[in-house]
């Protein structure tokens, strides 16, 4: 899941030197990469023309556009107070003008009989005209109790389902989409598909502190629908301006969303869907997104004409979107008063072709187009996944795994790995048994020979020699923590069985294992994206956090009558990491051989290791300070609070210093400007 805040950042990461995009399209096209970040791809849709004049007619602040069953475009030409009907080549067909009733057309819809519905926000009504342009019906504010007396009725957009029910987006009405049955001139059926309000953690705190009705608590209203569309099956698609998953929803009869988009941006203003189920949304600034029928992002394209360059494919204020079955995209712009036409490129046609086959379950047939897509773009993750599925079904698990990995599809990878591993085990079982037996035999024979002739004696001497090195002995003493924590603590405190150096070495071993686990875990269990290494930050995290915690803990202990010296806390805390040191290599090894089916083992080991470490720390604090259990926990909480205070202090100091630096730099700049020789 990606949030809007990350949108620019993510986009920036994919831009590279000497961009390879053609300038013919003024925008870049992106798709979701295997790590769910946007990556650049071939131009998916290329602008072909801009329609500004329709015969002698032009648009003025158009607000909505639909395609009728007759193949014409119906435009809510708000500034000219009419519905303009044009063909897809930009020729004028007709207009619906009604000076008396049409005041501010914001939304338009055309039904099978070519009746035109106009959502008029100033007239506060949805107006229905027949195909001859005659006013048939006017749907004004429902009088039904459930509508609510104070609920606003300012129609913005309208669609109609097969039964003739109207779905009306009313400005400012947060109860949901107004659903009206055409029976008896409009019967209010209820609200439909309301968005739920989301309350942030901070709002929760504010409401807790200041009361629910306080001004400070902030108003909690669900975000309203900005635009909507309906498909042939009667599913209603809505978009909102919110930067969350409500940005795009597909509502079932019960008004519940049946898709969750895997990527979104703010300020969505239009949505369209074609007979293949492909969903297109546009945001007001001109970013257009194509989703699959499952809500997976396929392409992001289009850009804002922020420098007023006037290039085809740049937008200023998108208000309407129409997509035909052959994927021709018509984009209505209220600021440019134009309709721009985009059509899919050869590459996109190929992607659609493969997708269609894939969605129909024709995996084998989809292989060829997926391969061609991959030829054109090796990083196109949907193609890798699609090809992986085809290969998986062919029983080619090794290649399927590779493709699933390229596509970032972990479940598929897990399944393929399961099969591949089973096959491997199956074909190598005899070898495995042979090797196992051989090892046991060798072990047994060696033991016997050793007992009789002492052949391993030299090794034992070497081992003892190594263990007699004091530092090594000190380091290995950490495992005493596992056996008998109290003994270990006693040894650290009283017998000098460990030193600062040995503690640092133990900490370093922990750090190395932590890093290995972070960057070299198996693909299925790795949390870091490939190619990202943040070793410095890891180092600071491990050592910084350890130091901060031990210092704070020591400080707290000194004021809570603890007996521990700093040395005791530092070394014991480091040695308390022993369970992690033991279990992390096991986790690392398992992560490279297990599938999601056996994920439980890894989770369990992690829980045990963490729990054990936590327990050791509690015991260590109790023993070293001679605390009661209650006092130990109190000390832990105080330590955490102390850490919080120190961190806050550091942040404040940092801000102050950076402001001071800025100030000095500004003065320097001023001085340089005053005295530097002008060019």
């Amino acid at each position: 899941m990606k949030k809007f805040a990350a949108w620019l950042l993510i986009l920036l990461t994919v831009l590279s030197l000497g961009s390879t995009a053609l300038a013919a399209t003024p925008f870049r096209t992106f798709t979701l990469g295997n790590d769910q970040e946007l990556i650049e791809t071939q131009t998916a849709y290329e602008p072909v023309r801009t329609m500004i004049r329709f015969g002698d007619e032009t648009l003025k602040n158009p607000q909505d556009m639909r395609m009728g069953p007759d193949g014409y475009l119906y435009i809510a030409d708000n500034g000219n107070k009419r519905i303009l009907v044009v063909d897809t080549q930009g020729n004028f067909v007709r207009e619906i003008v009604d000076k008396k009733n049409i005041k501010s057309p914001m939304g338009v819809f055309v039904d099978e009989d070519l009746n035109v519905y106009i959502a008029d926000d100033k007239a506060r009504a949805v107006l229905m005209y027949d195909k001859d342009g005659k006013l048939v019906c006017e749907y004004t504010k429902p009088t039904h109790q459930l509508f609510g007396e104070t609920a606003p009725y300012v129609p913005q957009k309208v669609v109609l389902d097969k039964r003739g029910n109207l779905y009306i987006v009313s400005k400012g009405n947060t109860n949901g989409i107004v659903q009206i049955s055409p029976v008896d001139g409009g019967e209010f059926l209820g609200y439909y598909g309301a968005n739920t309000s989301r309350i942030s953690f901070l709002t929760h705190i504010r409401r807790f502190l200041f009361g629910e009705n306080s001004d400070v608590a902030g108003e909690i209203v669900p975000i309203s629908v900005k635009n909507l569309a309906i498909d042939q099956k009667g599913m209603v698609y809505t978009v909102t301006e919110a930067g969350d998953e409500s940005a795009l929803r597909r509502l079932n009869v019960a008004g519940k969303s049946t898709i969750t988009p895997d990527w979104w941006i703010e300020l969505n203003s239009a949505v369209a869907v074609n007979s293949s189920g492909s969903i297109f949304t546009a945001n007001a600034n001109g970013t257009i997104m194509e989703y699959t029928s499952e809500g997976s992002l396929l392409f992001v394209f289009g850009t804002n004409d922020e420098l007023t360059e006037q290039r085809v494919g740049m937008f200023k204020s998108v208000t309407g979107l129409v997509v035909t079955d052959d994927y021709t995209v018509y984009v209505l712009d209220a600021n440019l008063n134009s309709i721009q036409v985009l059509r899919p490129t050869e590459f996109t046609d190929l992607v659609h072709q493969a997708f269609t086959l894939f969605q129909e379950g024709k995996y084998a047939e989809s292989k060829a187009p997926w391969l061609e897509v991959l030829r054109m773009n090796s990083m196109f993750s949907y193609a890798s996944t699609g090809l992986g599925e085809a290969l998986y079904r062919e029983g080619n698990y090794a290649e399927a795994m590779e493709n699933f990995r390229n596509g970032g599809y972990r479940q598929g990878y897990s399944d393929a790995w399961w099969e591949e591993r089973s096959n491997w085990l199956h074909s190598n079982m005899s070898t495995i048994i042979f090797v196992a037996v051989a090892v046991i035999v060798v072990w047994f024979v060696l033991g016997k020979l050793d007992r009789r002739f002492g052949i391993l004696k030299p090794l034992r001497v070497v081992k003892e020699k190594i263990l007699s090195i004091k530092l090594i002995d000190q380091v290995l003493y950490c495992f005493q923590m596992l056996k008998n924590p109290y003994d270990a603590c006693y040894g650290i405190k009283r017998e000098k069985r460990a030193s600062y150096l040995s503690a640092v070495i133990v900490l370093f071993i922990f750090f190395v294992l932590y890093v290995l686990n972070k960057y070299f875990a198996g693909f299925l269990f790795k949390t870091m994206p490939d190619g990202y290494y943040e070793l410095l930050s890891d180092f600071l995290t491990v050592f910084g956090a350890f130091l901060l915690l031990t210092i704070c803990c020591y400080l707290v202990c000194t004021i809570t009558d603890g007996e521990a010296r700093f040395r005791d806390i530092f070394i014991s805390a480091a040695y308390a990491l022993a369970p992690m040191i033991v279990f992390q290599p096991i986790v690392l090894a398992l992560s490279n051989v297990l599938t999601f089916n056996e994920e439980f083992f890894i989770t369990m080991i992690n829980v045990v290791a963490l729990g054990w470490t936590a327990l050791l720390i509690v015991l260590m604090l109790m023993y070293q300070n001679d605390y009661t259990l209650k006092k130990t926990f109190a000390t832990i909480f105080m330590t955490l609070f102390c850490v919080l205070v120190v961190v806050a202090l550091i942040v404040v100091l940092y801000m102050l210093i950076s402001q001071l630096v800025d100030f000095i730099v500004s003065i320097y700049g001023e001085v340089v400007y005053r005295f530097v020789k002008r060019v």
Partner: protein, 858 residues
Amino acid sequence: MSRESKLLSLVLLIVMLCTCCLPVHAEEAQSAAGANIPEGYRLIGENDRFNLYIQDADMAVAIERKDTGDVMFSTVQGAKKGKGQWVGMQQSGVVIEYLEDVKDKPIQADFVNNAYTIGYTDVDNGTTAHITFTDLGISFDVTVAMDDNGMVVTMKEASIVETKDETFLIALNDAGEEERIGLTKYTKTTEESEFILTTVTGETYTLNKSYYVSDKGETVTVKNADGKQQMTLPLAEGANVAFDVPVLDAAQKEVTIKPETVAGIQKNVYITGSGSDGSSVRILKEKVVLISEYSYTISAIYLYPFMGYSEAGVGQGYMIIPDGQGAIVGFEDNEKRYTTPYDKQVYGLNIGVDNLQLSSSRVQAEDVLAPFFGMVHTDTGIAVLGVIDEGDIAARIIAYPNGVRNLAYDWVTAKYVYRFVFNQPMGPGAGNVATRNEHRRNFDINQRFLLECGDTASYAGLAVAYRNYLVESGAFTNAEIRPFDIQVDFLGMERENFILGKQDVVMTTFEQAEEILSELKELGVERANVVYRGWQTNGLTGGVPTDSYSPAGSLGGKSGLKKLRELSEEMGFAFSLETDVLSLNIETHPTLTFSAFKKITSETWSKPTFGKVFSTLNYLTPKSSRDIGVDLVDALDRAGFTGVTFTGITQLLADYYHQDKYHDTSEMAAYYVEIIDAANSRGMTVNLVSPNAYLWQYANVISDLPVAGSDYTYTDAEIPFLTIALSGQIPYYLEYTNFQANTNEFFLHLMEQGARPSFLLTMEDPIKLQNSNSANIYSSRYDLYRDLIVEWYGELNALYEAVGEDGQIVDHVRAGDMVCVTWSNGTKVYLNFGDFEGTMDGVTLEKLSYKVVNGNGN
């Protein structure tokens, strides 16, 4: 036959001969010549097709077709009279922009809104105008002449005189009116504060600059050399306050200067200087006394901005703008639907001055690769192509489709910028101050207007004329004529982050490249232009600048590269290494930190790479580029390389700041030429990547030409103007095939333009690059491109065989989605870019297909 009859016959014969031949033609020609020329124009030059007339009052010119008498004007005819910026632009042959004192916005000056004088001196087939904007004190000479190809307008930088350097006296005459009494040279004497003024009549005055008069409110303040106030005198209506300040004349004799006042008007504070001969002159203080603080300087100049203009809805034809390969903008009435003009710096953004405005989702508009612009009038059959011969390094091309800024005309012009305004940052978060450069860029202007008429009055005709001009001007002196080949670029390696430091991402080793080339040869690819990229230690992004000949060990080292080079040459493939001596990766080249390119604001310039490994890149100063580049060329030569590919320096031209000095684009260009010339002088084959036109003369081959433009709303069509101009003169390769979304359409463009394709190849799958700085290379795997390369090679090679080795495109006609390209040997290539079957000249083509018809119609 009687004698009378014979005599009569003879007379009749003579009369017939006389009437049939000479007199009638002479009269017709006479009536055609000048018939459409308005009064006030005089003939100053001609060639075999056109006459050139000039109107002395405003330097407007008229170009007349000799055969039909049709005329093309340089200023708007019959336009509304009046003043104003746009009227001035429409009605003046020459328009300038100037900067005034501390105001940092250029102001327009022209022959409508400003006081001026023009004197003419006729030259061979033309005239030289001596122009002075009298109220600005800016003067310069412009020569307009005719040659065989069209009109040539020249202006020498040395002819520019500005108030700053030379001034004049504005004095009051006996009637009390302001009067310019002539240019006066002012020279600083050895004494910092002294000036000697010389009037045109030879009188000299010595003014001590430090004694100047300023007025605030109703007083006059006199200050001494230290800027210390000497005295303050009250001003009153009618008062004639005089006081003495010591001023020395040329003979070191003290003279008297008296300030005077005229009722309440601050401007009219004068200093009266007494000359050595006793004469006196009253000088307006703004013009002389405060001379060092108040001056006009030239900022930019337009030469015939409205040449060949068209009025909205009246004329028929189109403009040509240098977007991508070239684009045309029709003359039809746009009804004001466009708001901004086309306005681009020639040779790309001047990064030393302007900010690179990057956007994550926007593709930068195409740069102007070659300085041309044109107007084609299909109704009168006159076409003109503006070509910048000199001054290109400081020019912008500006085109106004009708309706932009409410102007009812289509016009396109070049603007030459001598000084510019830029933003000087004051520090982080402290904002910017608009500043102008004091330094005047040093360049002459030579702007040609190539003229075509009749059948050749089209973009294709102009492209051919442009080619002829380029040939004449020596743009292809180094060009190599080689049979058809394709460009194969290999990507050697990149770098990616690893647990400690970075590791190589090897994409194609030298040995693998050998395998690929051998296989291609076996499959029938006879010739190729092989370029190796990312061959150096640290790879493509980490290894810039390529400051030494150090092939990466992980690719096979020097021995591997040598083997590859030798094998390529054995197979008859041209082989070169890509060198970038512009980009600077400070992380891998910390010793070059102080050689980083600085903007004229003295800030170090850098750009984000948006990559995962190296976050920013810098550029080298041109001098460092030169030093490194020349050494590298030398090293490559010694290592046995016979070819080199330059990138980076071929696409940049900027002003910059180096060693506490401002340097202009001409200096940068000179350094870059030196690098490339070093390769030329060693006899190496030079391949320039997407080069700016001023470098063409140093190139043997040109690569990475754009296939498309920026798709401006106002452009009606993109035309292969550049490739028509280059065809048959120099081998040119289009941008990579890899990243085209419409592969079939792209192939048709190759066919249409007679261009050679290029491919970026790697042995490994480019998914390996996803964590490197080259993550944008998403398609390059050789085995996936092999068949396409072989197929395209075959088809394009067949085209080249049909048109001949030195074939040139002579015509290009577009009708809807159908295109017909005619080559010099008569071969025609028909192409259908549409989604449906199409027919042209009786040739029917399936969608997205082509057909080659040779001169015999087969």
